[in-house]
């Protein structure tokens, strides 16, 4: 399949300029580009979700036109969306077969569907119950369901838009196995990711987009990661991580004692020091998010105490947490982070609304804040008035970060900060976190990305099965130790460890 001279405009904003791309059977083709470069838009056009403003699609040497995604799928072009595309009220199996239910006579063949769903999930080594509702699942599980759904369709061309943004290492490996299997079967695969390692590992060729323009298409073997980054960003990336000199004697600004959440977290205790980045590692479902949400009052604690600067504090709601100078950045930017049907301004100021006037909202101040945030976080939107839901994934993430920082917190809990962020911006965010701690703020970092965890954290707490199994510092902070603790091989079971 090829796309030829594809242009796309939304309203007056043109986001793709004469982009051409060729996909070959049995090849993994990577698509690379900064946030907002137009990757998602391009693949949506290739699969029929959007219509190109000009340009044509060619499939097996013949021009085709996909009036909608149904036609695209009919031609074997399957897209896994960057933004999860599942009906939340429906169950896993219902979503997998949505729109193509297996029937026996007039009725749904539920047994077969369940069996097949189970089979697909097993294939992905994903242990969610096919009967579970999507809204009860963790984001990574949702992504696996999305992948299962795509695999259940017969694809000649499979397009994956940042499938690994929400996955952990093990799941990525499973996904890669599946991709390799499909490649061997002669499926053409178009793969989008901001993780250059992955592209090195899986892709045969790579196309780079920048500002909606095709920059180059090359064989992956001939490119180093740095080259890719440079092609993407158009300049050299400075040092990825900030230099950090951990001070393990700074005063304790937050201490958490014996916090439990029914069924999710047990007796978690840790301390956070001024100017520190405390990482939280663990496999999916280890309870990191649950613990953090319990600390800031979003989840009910069944027990536990919290002290701020040595004083016990009552935090029973997010409002309390905010008063204590604690802010939280959710990893579910669509479900709990942003109002997708609104534009940037109300989203940016929602958490810190009182800053913009108690009686009336000062729009000028809001605009100014937006200006600053766009600058500081390099948010790129074609149109400032467009709805946040239309933003590219990375730009949504940046906006969410900006939103949380509007409260000017002393302690920031960041859950997966760079999910879906391009490498250039990622480094900016890392330096931003570095600046924060230099200014005496403290950061709790929850991340599934090992380099990020190791590159940023002064200490790393590892959780497994709802407990903190160890807190690693100094040379102890390495991938091996983390994995040992995360899988429960190492570290004290039951007792929480703190220095």
């Amino acid at each position: 399949m090829s796309g030829r001279q594809i242009c796309k405009s939304f309203g007056s904003a043109q986001v793709l300029f004469d982009v051409s791309i060729d996909l070959h059977a049995g090849e993994v083709h990577a698509l690379l580009g900064e946030n907002g470069a137009g990757k998602s838009t391009l693949v949506k056009i290739l699969s029929g979700y959007h219509q190109p403003t000009s340009g044509e699609l060619i499939l097996d040497q013949a021009p085709v036109s996909f009036v909608d995604s149904e036609v695209g799928e009919g031609h074997g072009v399957i897209l896994i969306h960057q933004e999860l595309n599942l009906a939340e009220q429906l169950t896993v199996e219902e979503n997998i077969f949505l729109g193509r239910e297996i029937k026996r006579g007039w009725f749904l063949d539920k047994a077969t569907m369940r069996a097949q769903a189970q089979e697909l999930l097993d294939q992905l080594q994903c242990d969610v119950d096919p009967r579970a509702r999507i809204r009860d699942l963790a984001v990574s599980d949702r992504q696996m369901v999305e992948i299962a759904k795509a695999l259940s369709k017969k694809a000649d061309i499979l397009i994956l838009d940042e499938p690994t943004a929400v996955l952990t290492g093990r799941e990525v490996e499973i996904l890669f196995d599946q991709i390799r299997r499909l490649r061997e079967q002669g499926v053409a695969i178009l793969y989008i990711s901001h993780k250059l390692d992955e592209i090195k590992a899986i892709a045969d060729r790579v196309t780079v987009l920048r500002d909606g323009r095709h920059i180059t298409t090359e064989t992956v073997a001939e490119l180093e990661k740095d080259d890719m980054a440079r092609l993407m960003v158009g300049r050299d990336i400075k040092q990825m991580f900030p230099d950090r000199v951990p001070d393990h004697s700074a005063e304790i600004v937050l201490s958490v004692r014996d916090v439990s959440v029914d069924g999710q977290v047990r007796d978690a205790s840790f301390d956070l020091r001024r100017g520190e980045v405390l990482g939280f590692a663990g496999i999916v479902g280890a309870g990191r998010t649950a613990l953090m949400e319990a600390i800031i009052g979003l989840r009910e604690r069944s027990s536990g105490r919290i002290e701020r600067n040595g004083e016990p504090v009552k935090i029973n709601s997010l409002q309390d947490a905010k008063k204590c100078g604690i802010a939280y950045l959710t990893k579910d930017r669509k479900g709990s982070g942003l109002l997708l049907n609104m534009d940037m301004r109300p989203n940016l100021t929602l958490l810190a609304l009182e800053k913009f006037g108690r009686v009336f909202i000062d729009r000028k101040a809001e605009e100014a804040a937006l200006e600053t945030a766009i600058e500081a976080f390099d948010i790129r939107a074609a149109d400032r008035k467009s709805k946040v839901g239309d933003f590219s994934g990375g730009n949504q993430q940046k906006l969410l970060l900006a939103k949380v920082m509007e409260t000017d917190p002393d302690i920031v809990i960041i859950d997966e900060p760079t999910r879906g962020i391009d490498i250039g911006t990622k480094s900016e965010i890392y330096h931003f976190i570095g600046d924060l701690t230099d200014r005496g703020k403290s950061v709790i970092l929850l991340s599934s990305e090992m380099p990020e965890m190791l590159g940023l954290s002064d200490r790393i707490a590892v959780m497994a099965g709802g407990r903190i199994t160890g807190i690693l510092m100094g040379d102890g902070r390495n991938e091996h130790e983390i994995m040992r603790h995360a899988t429960g091989i190492s570290g004290k079971q039951g007792a929480s460890v703190h220095e």
Binding site: A87, E88, Q89, L90, G99, E101, L108, R133
Partner: protein, 340 residues
């Protein structure tokens, strides 16, 4: 409204086979509560005659509410059902009266009336569905409009008065309401059949699955190659069909139609649906809940007739209170709180 959404959330704790799904049982428990109340107030409540009355009455609203479950599950709303019922009744009566002269007051006449009713119901539903989907107008506005239109039409047909079914036809048609099979009144059987059909359609066919998907997230449904407009329109058609069925058993009961027929039935039907646990925002529907909801509403009315302890003027207040309390109890949140 949204509070429910959260209540749906907790996944059933898979603690063996002993856990009871209170959520699904809720409406039944509330209904049992009402029955206990009824019996306490008056022994006659549990008499076969009274129970049969309750279920027979619940049939009207119940059948309409089964249709409403589809509409609401798919994220729509239909305010026109009451007027639609009046209009269809009126049209049936006019046509059957007209046919008496040529066909005589026989079964054929009644059958033709029934066929007409079905055609009108499907047509009226299709109009609601098509205008709202193709015209891209909110269902609330469209059905508010057609509510006025259908009601006016029946008033016009009746010339401001009452349309009255020929008394000879009434004799033939009568068993459809007053008859019974093996002691079970025909309307109850029809209600049961409609509920079963509705259950099967909503829970066991691709169509029902698509209704859930559309109500849950229209965009996702569209991306899943679901013809959103077509399915939505079909839910209104089903609603129309249900109204038509309800009308078919309604006409022989009172044998007339006027501008006051079916007033506020839409509210009752929607209430039955919501009481039954379907979400007003769409995405989750439960036919059995709806059935129980309809029976609950009818039972409350019946209980109020069992006693004259309460001033007639306060009927509405007692009814309102019971509805709120019953829904509160069946939602089962109090149980969770207590157990802490």
């Amino acid at each position: 409204m949204s509070s429910v959404e959260r209540n749906e959330a907790p996944t059933k704790k898979t603690s063996g086979g002993f856990s009871i799904d209170f959520k699904a049982l809720g409406p039944f428990l509330a209904l049992v509560g009402l029955f206990v109340l009824g019996t306490a107030i008056n022994d006659a409540f549990l008499s076969g005659g009274n129970l049969s009355n309750i279920f027979t009455r619940a049939a009207f609203i119940g059948i309409i509410a089964v249709g409403a479950t589809f509409v609401i599950t798919a994220g729509g709303i239909d305010l026109s059902v009451g007027s639609m019922a009046a209009f269809i009744s009126g049209a049936m009566i006019v046509v059957m009266n007209g046919l008496v002269e040529t066909l005589g007051a026989g079964v054929e006449t009644v059958l033709l009336g029934v066929v007409l009713s079905v055609i009108l119901g499907i047509g009226a539903g299709a109009i609601n569905g098509l205008v709202s989907t193709k015209g891209k107008i909110e269902a609330f506005i469209v059905t508010l409009g057609t509510m006025g239109i259908y009601r006016s039409l029946v008033t016009y047909m009746a010339d401001g008065g009452t349309l009255s079914l020929d008394f000879d036809i009434r004799g033939v048609y009568r068993p459809v309401y007053y008859g019974d099979i093996l002691g079970i009144p025909v309307p109850v059987l029809v209600f049961f059949a409609v509920a079963v059909a509705g259950y099967v359609l909503l829970n066991m066919t691709p169509f029902g699955r698509k209704c859930f998907a559309i109500g849950s997230n229209e965009q996702v449904a569209r991306y899943s190659a679901i013809h959103v407009d077509r399915i939505k329109t079909l839910t209104y058609v089903i609603q129309g069909l249900c109204v038509s069925i309800a009308t078919i058993i309604y006409v022989p009961r009172l044998g007339s139609a006027s501008s006051s027929t079916g007033v506020l039935w839409e509210l009752e039907a929607i209430a039955a649906v919501i009481i039954g646990g379907t979400m007003l925002k769409g995405g989750y529907g439960r036919i059995w809940g709806t059935v129980v909801g309809a029976i609950m509403l009818t039972t409350i009315g019946n209980i109020l007739n069992l006693t004259d302890a309460i001033s007639n003027y306060l009927n509405g207040a007692v009814q309102g209170l019971i509805i709120i309390v019953a829904v509160f109890l069946q939602r089962g949140d109090w149980r969770r709180k207590k157990s802490k």
